[in-house]
């Protein structure tokens, strides 16, 4: 018990020391290649969106006015909070605090599951009101980019379930697998941060 307590209180300092001593690539290198590839692909979408926006600022601004800024903001906080739980859970798993890690990943899963629900609250009234990808260029980009992102969120939730199963299993959890899942989930978070600024916030 004392060992565990000591470990949890010095965990942060240990991580700092390790970082100073040597660099560490979290998780599977192939996940990082996937993440970088995905960031580049989404980056191209973002830039193309900005190009077309520049061709017709007024139409895009009028369409943006129809979005629900409050739901967009809530979803940003939801994903950031979920990412925090994943980051804390990863550190706990690495420090051998598997029970804590399981709970933290569970909280991340619950938070993450709120995102698609809020997205439905946003999509359904729009579609009922007749606002679809065919409405105009803004809504085409809105549905395609948020739709692709939502697919990433759903896959991320499945990955979080696998991480929890790995943590709850009888064997020692595979830290590399926990880190790989965490890396994917944080990528989903940063893609949303840019989407939120481009679709909801900018003028």
């Amino acid at each position: 018990m004392t060992e565990v307590a000591e470990e949890s209180s010095t965990g942060a300092t240990d991580a700092g020391r390790t970082a100073a001593a040597r660099s560490h690539l979290p998780g599977d290198p192939s996940m990082w290649f996937f993440v970088i590839g995905d960031l580049v692909i989404f980056g191209v979408y973002f830039v193309v969106y900005m190009y077309y926006r520049g061709q017709d600022h007024d139409a895009f601004l009028q369409s943006q006015a129809q979005l629900n800024l409050t739901i967009g903001t809530l979803n940003t906080v939801v994903l950031l909070t979920s990412s925090l739980f994943v980051a804390l859970g990863t550190a706990a798993a690495r420090g051998g605090r598997t029970a804590d890690a399981t709970r933290l990943f569970g909280l991340a899963l619950v938070c993450g599951a709120v995102f698609p629900l809020l997205k439905l609250v946003e999509y359904i009234p729009k579609v009922i009101a007749g606002v679809t990808p065919g409405t105009n260029l803004f809504f085409m980009y809105y549905y395609v980019m948020t739709g692709l992102h939502l697919c990433h969120v759903l896959l991320g939730l499945v990955i979080l379930c696998f991480v929890i199963r790995n943590l709850r299993g009888p064997a020692m959890p595979r830290i590399s697998f926990v880190e790989t899942g965490a890396t994917y989930w944080h990528m989903v978070d940063i893609l949303w941060l840019v989407l939120f600024a481009l679709l909801y916030l900018m003028r």
Binding site: S8, S9, G11, A12, A15, T18, A19, S23, H24, L25, P26, W32, I36, L39, V40, G43, F46, V47, M50, Y51, R53, G54, Q55, H57, D58, L61, Q62, Q64, A65, L69, T73, T76, V77, L80, T81, S83, L84, V86, A87, L88, T90, A91, D100, R103, L104, E179, A182, T183, H186, M187, D189, I190, L193, V194, F196, A197, L198, L201, M202, R203
Partner: protein
């Protein structure tokens, strides 16, 4: 689970900062951008806030801070190129 340890974790401070700037950019868009007219001040502010948030998540949550140099260079390069292009196209066509 000792909650205090997690509340005092530096990662939680990063999250508090991320949430605070998210609320700030919400207020900027709600008040400054309420008219839905072209507004470069609002746009530059919210895009820079988004860039800082993205870097904070990459650096601290994704642990790139402790990762090999090639990954630091790649992610930072992606971030700078992306936001430079976004601002470039915003002003280029304005």
């Amino acid at each position: 689970m000792d909650v205090t340890t997690y509340v005092r974790n530096p990662l939680t401070y990063v999250w508090a900062l991320l949430t605070a700037v998210t609320v700030t950019s919400w207020l900027i868009a709600r008040d400054g951008g309420a008219a839905h007219h072209l507004n470069a001040t609002v746009t530059v502010t919210v895009l820079l806030i988004a860039a800082v948030k993205t870097q904070l998540v990459i650096w601290h949550f994704m642990e790139v801070r402790q990762a090999p140099t090639w990954l630091k260079v790649t992610t930072t390069g992606w971030l700078i190129a992306l936001f430079a292009l976004l601002l470039g196209f915003y002003f280029g066509a304005a």
